[in-house]
Amino acid sequence: MSALLEVSDLNKHFGGLQAVKNVSFSIASGEIVGILGPNGAGKTTLYNLLTGFIPYDSGSVVFKGRNLRGLAPYRIAGLGISRTFQLCRPFIGMSVFENVVVGGLGAHGSDDRSDLDARARQLIEQVGLRGKEKLPVETLSYGDQRRLEIARALAAKPALLLLDEPFAGLGSGEIADLSTLIRSVHADQGLTVMLIEHKLREFMRLVGRVIALDFGEMIAEGSPEDIVRQPAVIEAYIGRGDGEAEEQSDAA
C-alpha cells in the first residue's frame, strides 16, 4: 500500500479563527477513511483545502506524489480527486443523464469521451436511478439527488472520492442503499474514499479508519472501534463533564 494522499501540517485561518490547525495524515490507495468531528470542527474546510476551493495558509497536500499547492479546483479534479457537496449542487436546468455526462467532461476524462454516454448510463444504473435519465434534476427527491451527486463524481473516474455528509437528510432505507453503493464502488473499482458523516452507526460500519477533528485539530486517529474509546473524542462529542463538577461543588 502506497500513500495516495499525504497531508502535512496543514493550516488555515479565517480572520482570528483557526479552522484547520497542523493537520497531518496520509491515506493509502484503496482505503475508506472517515472524518469525524462535531459541527464546526473543520471537516468541510479540510475538503475545501484538499480540492483547492480554498487556498491553505501553510503545509502541504501531496496527491499521487504531486504537490497540489496553488492548483485551481478544476486542475485538482483533473488529477483524480472528485468530491460531492454537503448540500446537493446538481446542474439545475439539465436532465439526470446530462448531469452525469458533464461529470465526465473534465480534464481527466477527456481522453475517452467516445464511450461517455454509455458510461453515464451505466453509472446511472449503478446508483439506482435507472429510468430517470431524462428527468430534470429539480424534480428528483433528495435521496435521488444524493445518488446523482455520486454518479456525477464517479463519471470523472476519480482515484479519490471525497463524500461530504452523503447520508444527510435521508431515511434509514435510503442510507442502507447508499452505503451498499459506496461499498460496491469501493470493492469493484478499488476506489479510495474519504467520508464526512454524522450518522455514526452507518459511518462506523463503512469506514476502515477514522480521523477525528475538533476545533480544526486532529485529536485522534484509529479504527472505528478504537476511536470511540479515545477520551479526546468522547470529550469533543459529549463534553468534559464540567456541569457535573459544578453541581458537585455547589452541593459541597
Binding site: Y74, R89, M94, L105, G109, A153, A156
Partner: protein, 311 residues
C-alpha cells in the same frame, strides 16, 4: 431520428419562407426591413449562445456590434479594404474586445458582469465622441462601400449568414461544449469539482458570441453605408435581449424568430403613429407575462411533440 428530421424540415421551411418573402411582396422597402430583421437575428442568436446558455446576461452586446461595425467601416474607408476582408477583421477585433473585457469581468458573480458589459458599451460610445477626429464623432464614418450592390442580393447574403451562424451555434450548443455551458449556468462550483475550467469556457463562449455580433455589425455597416456612435447604444443591447426572451432563451433558434418577429412588428405598427410604442410595449409585456419561456421555441417544441408522437 424522426424528431431530428422535423427540425431540419422546420429550418429549411423557415429559410425558404424568408427567401420567398421579398419575391412575394417585392419593393425595396420590404427588402430593407427584412435585411435589418435578419441582421438583428444574427445579433440575437450570438447573444443567446453566451448569455442564454451560461446565464451570464450581457447587457453590453452593442459593444461588439459597434466594434465590428466601426472596424469594418474604418478599414473600408481608410484603407479601401473590401467588405470580404473587413468582415473577418471585424470578427477578430470583436473577439479581442471580448478577451480584454471578459477576463476581468467574467470572474464577477451576480449582476456585476451585466453591469461591467453595460458600462463598457457606454464608455465606448463616449470614446467615439471624445476622439471625434479619428472616429468622426456624432457623424461617424460615412461613405462605406456596400458589400453587394443589389438590394435583394444583399438580403440573401445576410439571410445565408444568419443560417450559417445559427447552424454553427446550434451545433455547438448541442455538443458537449453546450452541455458544459449549461452546466456553468447550473452551478460553477460543481463544474470545477468535475474538472471543468469554468473561466476558459466562459471567455471562449463570449469570444464566439462577440465574433458573430461583430460580423453582424460589419454587415450592418456595409448595408447602412455609414456607422455612428448610436450603434453602441444601450437600447440596442436591450432590444436584442428582448428578442431573445420573446424567442426563448437558450434555444438558439428561438431568438432568430424573436428578432425577425419584433422587427417586423415594429414596422407594421408604423401605421399606428404615436400609439406604436404603446402597442409594442403592451404586446411585449403580455408575451413575457404569459409566456415566461418565450414564444417561438416553446411553440416549436409543442409542434414537434404533436408531429412526433402519434403512432
Amino acid at each position: 431520428m424522426f424528431v431530428k428530421r422535423i427540425d431540419y424540415a422546420g429550418a429549411l421551411g423557415f429559410i425558404a419562407f424568408m427567401a420567398a418573402l421579398p419575391l412575394i411582396f417585392g419593393g425595396n422597402y420590404i427588402v430593407g426591413v427584412l435585411t435589418v430583421s435578419v441582421i438583428y437575428g444574427i445579433w440575437a442568436v450570438s447573444w443567446d449562445f453566451m448569455s442564454g446558455l451560461t446565464g451570464r446576461e450581457n447587457f453590453g452586446h452593442s459593444l461588439f456590434i459597434g466594434v465590428g461595425a466601426y472596424t469594418a467601416g474604418f478599414l473600408n474607408t481608410s484603407f479601401g479594404l473590401s467588405g470580404w476582408w473587413s468582415l473577418p477583421a471585424a470578427m477578430l477585433m470583436a473577439m479581442l474586445f471580448a478577451v480584454v473585457i471578459g477576463l476581468p469581468t467574467l470572474r464577477l458573480k451576480g449582476p456585476y458582469f451585466a453591469l461591467a458589459m453595460l458600462s463598457s458599451a457606454v464608455i465606448m460610445q463616449r470614446l467615439m465622441l471624445i476622439f471625434w477626429e479619428q472616429t468622426g464623432g456624432e457623424e461617424g464614418i460615412n461613405g462605406i462601400e456596400p458589400l453587394i450592390r443589389s438590394q435583394l442580393g444583399f438580403y440573401y447574403f445576410a439571410l445565408a449568414t444568419l443560417a450559417v451562424v445559427t447552424a454553427i451555434l446550434l451545433a455547438l450548443a448541442r455538443s458537449h461544449w453546450g452541455l458544459i455551458l449549461r452546466a456553468v449556468r447550473g452551478d460553477e462550483a460543481t463544474c470545477q469539482a468535475a474538472g471543468i475550467n469554468v473561466t476558459f469556457y466562459k471567455i471562449a463562449s463570449l469570444m464566439i458570441s462577440a465574433a458573430f455580433a461583430g460580423a453582424g455589425g460589419a454587415i450592418y455597416a456595409h448595408y447602412q453605408l455609414q456607422v455612428s456612435p448610436q450603434l453602441f447604444a444601450v437600447v440596442t443591447s436591450i432590444t436584442i435581449i428582448t428578442m431573445v426572451y420573446v424567442g426563448g432563451m437558450a434555444s438558439i433558434y428561438g431568438p432568430v424568430g424573436g428578432a425577425i418577429l419584433l422587427v417586423l412588428l415594429t414596422e407594421l405598427l408604423r401605421n399606428f403613429g404615436e400609439w406604436r410604442l404603446m402597442i409594442y410595449s403592451c404586446t411585449l409585456i403580455l408575451i413575457l407575462f404569459f409566456l415566461p419561456n418565450g414564444l417561438i421555441a416553446p411553440t416549436w417544441r409543442r409542434v414537434k411533440a404533436k408531429l412526433g408522437s402519434p403512432q
